[in-house]
């Protein structure tokens, strides 16, 4: 039983393809295969070709082969990724105010069916559409298995569809374009027997997009010797609050850092 020389290993192997190893000598020996996700051991007959099934070579990387009889002889070979089968597509942010420059970015990475990163350069197309309007279409060559883009947000609130595609493969993401800061925050008030009911006009940003419901508007009623405040959420486009004021007061509203108009009310008769 002799092992004449090192095992003859494939010079190029592709993930998921089977391959063969040839050995020299005669008699029985043990073949070890250690690689990413694999550590196998089997008896072989020296001098015969050894068939490595595809399931053992699915993960790209470096494989060590060792053939042992009275002594061990080893070698290694690399398995490369197969053709792309999926795209990992990272898009940020998931929500973006309208009209912001360089606010949206995406990174795409092609992977083969066995989750190996495909490093062979290839062109990935990024497409952004808002409603039926195409906002951007760009083809980017992958480098080290990565392609990326960056662009500005649109003018209208709503869903922005972002697609990355290579050949028949595509990955789709959605970015919610939301209204920017409120613009021209205006309030009106109405006195009731117990208090003043104050409410905003429909709250919109400077592009006319409605500010999302739930956004807090702070109403403040300043009297000569104190003040009252209510943090009220916008519901169906309008924020409302009830403020107990008996004296002359100035009522104002603010949302975040944006101030609205003021209402001056006299004392309750």
């Amino acid at each position: 039983m002799t092992l004449a020389q090192d095992p003859h290993l494939p010079t190029s192997a592709v993930a998921g393809d089977e391959t063969t190893i040839s050995t020299s000598g005669n008699g029985q020996a043990i073949l070890y295969l250690v690689g990413p996700g694999v550590a196998s051991k089997r008896e072989i007959s020296l001098g015969e070709d050894i068939h490595l099934p595809s399931r053992e070579l699915q993960n790209a990387g470096r494989y060590v082969v060792s053939v042992c009889s009275d002594a061990c002889r080893s070698g290694s070979f690399y398995v490369a990724a197969a053709e792309p089968a999926s795209l990992t597509f990272l898009v940020h942010p998931s929500r973006v105010p309208v009209g912001l420059s360089d606010a949206i970015s995406g990174v795409a990475l092609p992977f083969d069916p066995f989750h190996n990163l495909v490093r062979v350069p290839m062109a990935i197309t990024f497409q952004l559409t808002s409603g039926k309007t195409a906002m951007m279409s760009r083809s980017v060559q992958t480098q080290d298995g990565v392609a990326w883009f960056r662009t500005s947000s649109g003018k209208d609130a709503g869903v922005l569809h972002v697609v990355a595609a290579v050949d028949e493969l595509s990955a789709r993401r959605a970015v919610q374009q939301v209204a920017s800061e409120p613009c021209n925050l205006r309030i009106k008030g109405q006195r009731t027997p117990k208090a003043i009911l104050v409410e905003t006009e429909p709250v919109r940003d400077c592009s006319g997009n409605p500010v999302p419901d739930g956004t807090i508007v702070t109403f403040t009623a300043a009297e000569a010797d104190g003040k009252s405040t209510v943090d009220a959420p916008i519901k169906q486009g309008v924020a409302r609050a009830q403020i107990i004021v008996t004296k002359a007061a100035v009522i104002s509203a603010a949302s975040g850092v944006v101030m609205g108009n003021e209402l001056r009310l006299g004392a309750q008769p």
């Binding site: 990272l90 898009v91 419901d213 739930g214 405040t229 959420p233």
Partner: protein, 379 residues
């Protein structure tokens, strides 16, 4: 010896017991269960107003309601259920979770038949120790003093229908697939809009305000690390309960971070870090802060007080008030908070008060109050 030794041992035992009862070596307090009572004859007589109050508080601590009520003056304008509710709270308020831990009493005036005692009550509550100052009126009846318990004005809510338009955000966590790239929901965008570090009696304090600039609710926590001249962190702490953690879109909250026993002189730099995560939230209830005024109280302390008005249709069990105080330049010079021990029933109001340090009273020009709240079963 046959009789001498037993007699000696019994005598020493009795002597030791008497020594413990009459003040030599204090006995450990009861832990866990506030129940039981002293053996007959061992409860001191209410011979003084202070002793009458002490007996009353002991019974109230142990929830011996009948005995406590029996110790009240007949002139008290309260029935037993109202008395219990006044002391033990109702509607899941903070008081219902509280236990009287101790008290300090100070007589205000006393005659042979009548006394007024000011008592500072120390409550143990789930949100930390709470102090409450209350004046008690006592009268001499029969062979001892009795406490006159005032009539309790409990808020009543008329039967009504409060319209509700539900507005809340829920989270869908997605499937169990690999989260890389396919489940991107960005964290809310939150920004610290002001920060100020000052020295206080207890150490250093970092405070300011934070705003949720996003369109979704955010769970917010502000952390700060104090750094010395060599760039080493001295201490890191968080805003804990001195912040409204859940901020709705565009909502502003004060924050305060305490660094006990840290001298600000040793601090070269403050490293701020605001963490924001997306959380489910509700836009209700809306609580208005009415009639806010900064006035000195009877003890001369500067107190911001006002009324909280529940504008929604749900009971707010524990309201929490956080106030930021600004100087004439609009800089935050102090952040203080306080819990309200009565629950806030729908469409009703309850008073609140927040104290500010005496040294800062002169600096404060204006203030901003945020109301945080706990409602049973809505956490």
């Amino acid at each position: 010896m046959r009789f001498a030794l037993p007699i000696l041992l019994v005598a020493v035992t009795v002597g030791l017991i008497a020594a413990a009862l009459f003040g030599v070596g204090q006995a450990g307090g009861t832990v866990g269960i506030a129940a039981g009572s002293a053996l007959p004859g061992l409860t001191p007589n209410a011979g003084t107003p202070e002793q009458a109050l002490a007996n009353l508080f002991t019974d109230l601590q142990r929830r011996n309601w009948n005995r406590a009520f029996a110790a009240l003056s007949k002139t008290s304008g309260v029935d037993e259920p109202s008395f219990i509710q006044d002391w033990a709270g109702a509607n899941g308020s903070l008081r219902t979770f509280s236990n009287l831990e101790g008290y300090d009493s100070r007589p205000l005036h006393a005659t042979s038949d009548d006394a007024q005692v000011r008592v500072r009550l120390h409550w143990a509550t789930p949100v930390g120790p709470v102090e409450d100052v209350r004046d008690f009126h006592l009268t001499h009846e029969g062979d001892g003093w009795k406490v006159v318990w005032p009539k309790v004005e409990a808020p009543t809510v008329p039967a009504q229908v409060v319209p509700v338009t539900y507005l809340r955000w829920d989270l869908i966590s997605g499937g169990a697939e690999d989260g890389w790239g396919s489940r991107n929901v960005d964290s809310p965008h939150v920004r610290i809009i002001s920060m100020n570090a000052v020295e206080s009696a207890e150490g250093s304090v970092v405070m300011g305000e934070v705003v949720n600039e996003d369109t979704i609710p955010a769970f917010v926590n502000v952390n700060a690390a104090l750094v010395d001249g060599s760039g080493n962190a001295i201490d890191d702490e968080s805003s804990f309960d001195k912040i409204a953690h859940v901020l709705l879109p565009k909502q502003v909250s004060p924050y305060r971070i305490d660094f006990p026993n840290i001298n600000l002189k040793n601090v070269k730099n403050v490293r701020m870090d605001v963490k924001a995560t997306l959380v489910p939230a509700s836009a209700d209830p809306v609580i208005g802060v009415m009639d806010q005024k900064l006035d000195p109280d009877v003890q001369g302390k500067s107190v911001l007080h006002g009324e909280l008005l529940n504008q929604s249709g749900q009971t707010v069990n524990i309201p929490h008030v956080i106030a930021s105080f600004y100087d004439s330049n609009g800089k935050v010079v102090w952040v203080a908070d306080g819990y309200v021990d009565r629950s806030l029933l729908p469409q009703t109001s309850e008073p609140f008060a927040v104290e500010i340090p005496r040294t800062l009273a002169g600096k404060v020009q204006t203030f901003h109050v945020v109301v945080n709240q706990y409602s049973l079963g809505k956490s």
